[in-house]
């Protein structure tokens, strides 16, 4: 990799950041759409099949057009797709209300905080350990340079991710507190307690790949965990994956653990007083957090850009075409499958009680992961 000048580095970083933002803003609306559709199918319904509107006019035309297209088998799956554009338009057009007694500055900062905290994590996430493509010579500043699958390749990538990701709860707690209303406050308190509890098993379960690979570098960890594991490491990674994913549900406030946003008892939890695009930011942050959790789970446990999960890739020769080496498609497929699993679990498991949530974290997950990490250390000792 040739050294880059400062301007080249800046331009490249900005381009990659834009690429990541485009990726996010394609995947997030698709996830909200998939959420409607998949939840519908899980419950023997059809999910979104149209956008609301009159018989005549644009929406009516779209509804009818999509229905006519729906007679072709594949297209009927995507019928109702205009809805995700409608979602965004609705959020943008809605009136933005700030309550009189709210703490104005914090009320405005809070959604931005949780949004930024969830997006910045992508700086350390690597989609592909190498160049996705190389710019041709004719491009002005960055001609001949590779467009890598990661923005930065920092040595403490995992530490950075964990640090930034836990800032996200600040947004929730601050937003809840500054709303000056009892339901958001309760939601915020629950969120703080829940995330304090679940940060511990989450981080501990990520210690398993850290111990096994002996590195905190994202690319290095992914490669080591996927390709150079002994057979004994496979069950440890398997257990670690499920613990991490469970904690991921709690971190993103998804359905079995949606205490902060308890729709049954706390109106809408921490975002009760939010409306318009401020609420939209919280909403986006939740879905981006889902992508982050899915990306980390698939990178550290499911082999990342390598095909086989749980370190089983070690038994495939690296010379085999397509499945031997890393490929960005596997990584994206794993992310999408885990996003689907998020929705699947939401449609299956009922909510836990608050004390049950605490019991799961403190009584089961933490001892479980401690044993897991200890065994991983033993495996690491035998590897060396």
């Amino acid at each position: 990799m040739q050294t880059m000048t400062l301007s080249q580095t800046c331009v490249m970083a900005i381009l990659q950041a834009i690429a990541v933002v485009i990726f996010i803003f394609i995947v997030v609306p698709l996830t909200t759409f998939a959420e409607r559709k998949v939840l519908g199918y899980l419950q023997d319904r059809l999910g979104a099949t149209r956008i609301a509107g009159s018989r005549n006019g644009l929406t009516g035309f779209l509804n009818r057009g999509m229905w006519k297209m729906g007679k072709v088998p594949f297209l009927s799956i995507v019928r109702g797709l205009p809805m995700f554009i409608g979602d965004i338009i609705k959020l943008l057009v809605k009136e933005d209300i700030i309550p009189d007694k709210a703490d104005r500055a914090i009320f405005i900062i809070a959604p931005a905080l949780s949004m930024v905290a969830s997006v910045v994590v992508f700086a350390a996430i690597s989609f592909y350990p190498g160049a996705l493509f190389t710019f041709p010579r004719c491009v002005p500043v960055i001609g001949g340079l590779p467009f890598t699958g990661f923005i930065t390749n920092m040595n403490v990538g995992l530490l950075f991710i964990l640090g930034i990701a836990s800032v996200g709860v600040y947004g929730i707690v601050l937003g809840a507190w500054s709303s000056n209303s009892k339901f958001p406050l309760l939601g915020g308190l629950r969120s703080a307690a829940q995330i304090v509890s679940y940060e511990v098993p989450l981080t501990l379960s990520l210690m398993v790949p850290v111990v096994l690979s002996g590195s905190l570098n994202f690319n290095e960890m992914t490669r080591m965990v996927a390709t150079q594991m002994p057979i004994w490491a496979v069950p440890l990674l398997f257990v670690g994956f499920f613990v991490y994913f469970t904690c991921g549900f709690a971190e993103t406030n998804r359905m079995p653990f949606d205490m902060p946003e308890a729709e049954n008892e706390l109106v809408a939890g921490f975002h009760t007083e939010y409306s318009g695009m401020k609420f939209g930011f919280f909403y986006l942050a939740e879905y981006i957090n889902m992508i982050v959790v899915a990306a980390l789970a698939s990178a550290f446990f499911l082999g990342g850009p390598f095909l086989l999960p749980f370190g089983l890739q070690s038994f495939v020769p690296a010379t085999w075409p397509l499945i031997g080496g890393p490929n960005v498609i596997w990584f994206l497929l794993k992310i999408f499958f885990l996003l689907f699993t998020f929705i699947w679990v939401r449609g299956t498991i009922p909510r836990y009680r608050y004390d049950q949530i605490m019991a799961i974290a403190w009584k089961y997950l933490i001892p479980f992961t401690l044993v897991d990490v200890a065994l991983a250390a033993v495996v690491r000792f035998t590897m060396a």
């Binding site: 519908g40 199918y41 319904r45 059809l46 009818r64 699947w344 449609g347 089961y364």
Partner: protein
């Protein structure tokens, strides 16, 4: 020991996920086929809704094979109607032994769709059909009789004019 293992291995969650996954795959595979819908909802305005066989829709006069009105003006339906929405004016016709209704007026806006009239009819000459899209913009449209073309006692209420449904075209 087995209890401990049961606690550690979340097999009930796996069972639940398997069940919902099955439902997902079933609906996912058949959602686009109109013949075998395994989902429990219908896409009503675009697809004509199916009603149960005993559904009580709008009152309709029946004709027999020769195109003769079956009604013999016994006035049973008019008498039993709790909201008195039926008015019959009987008359005679050449070559027919029984009486024949000259007017059979039905005020649908007050009808409660109780089906007493059909039950009381001894000649099976009226039924409640399966129509449920009965909205109209004018009060006159609810006065249904034997005369007139847009809505009368023999034909179905024109649907496309008033509702979102495509069912008249399908």
């Amino acid at each position: 020991m087995t209890n401990f293992l049961k606690t550690l291995i979340p097999q009930d969650i796996a069972k639940g996920l398997y069940l919902t996954g099955q439902h997902f795959m079933r609906v996912f595979r058949t959602a686009n086929r109109r013949k075998v819908p395994l989902h429990v909802v219908s896409e009503y305005p675009e697809v004509p809704a199916k009603v149960q066989p005993r559904f009580r829709g709008r009152l309709t006069l029946l004709k027999d094979e020769q195109g003769e009105i079956k009604c013999v003006c016994c006035l049973a339906c008019e008498k039993i109607c709790p909201t008195q929405v039926i008015t019959i004016e009987s008359g005679k016709k050449e070559g027919r032994k029984t009486k024949i209704p000259l007017r059979y007026d039905f005020e649908m806006e007050r009808c409660i769709f109780c089906e007493f009239c059909v039950e009381s009819c001894g000649f099976d000459s009226i039924i409640l059909n399966h129509q449920f899209e009965l909205a109209a913009y004018n009060r006159e449209d609810f006065s249904i009789g034997m005369l007139g073309t847009s809505q009368n006692m023999f034909e179905l209420t024109p649907v496309g004019r008033y509702s979102y449904s495509d069912s008249d075209k399908d």
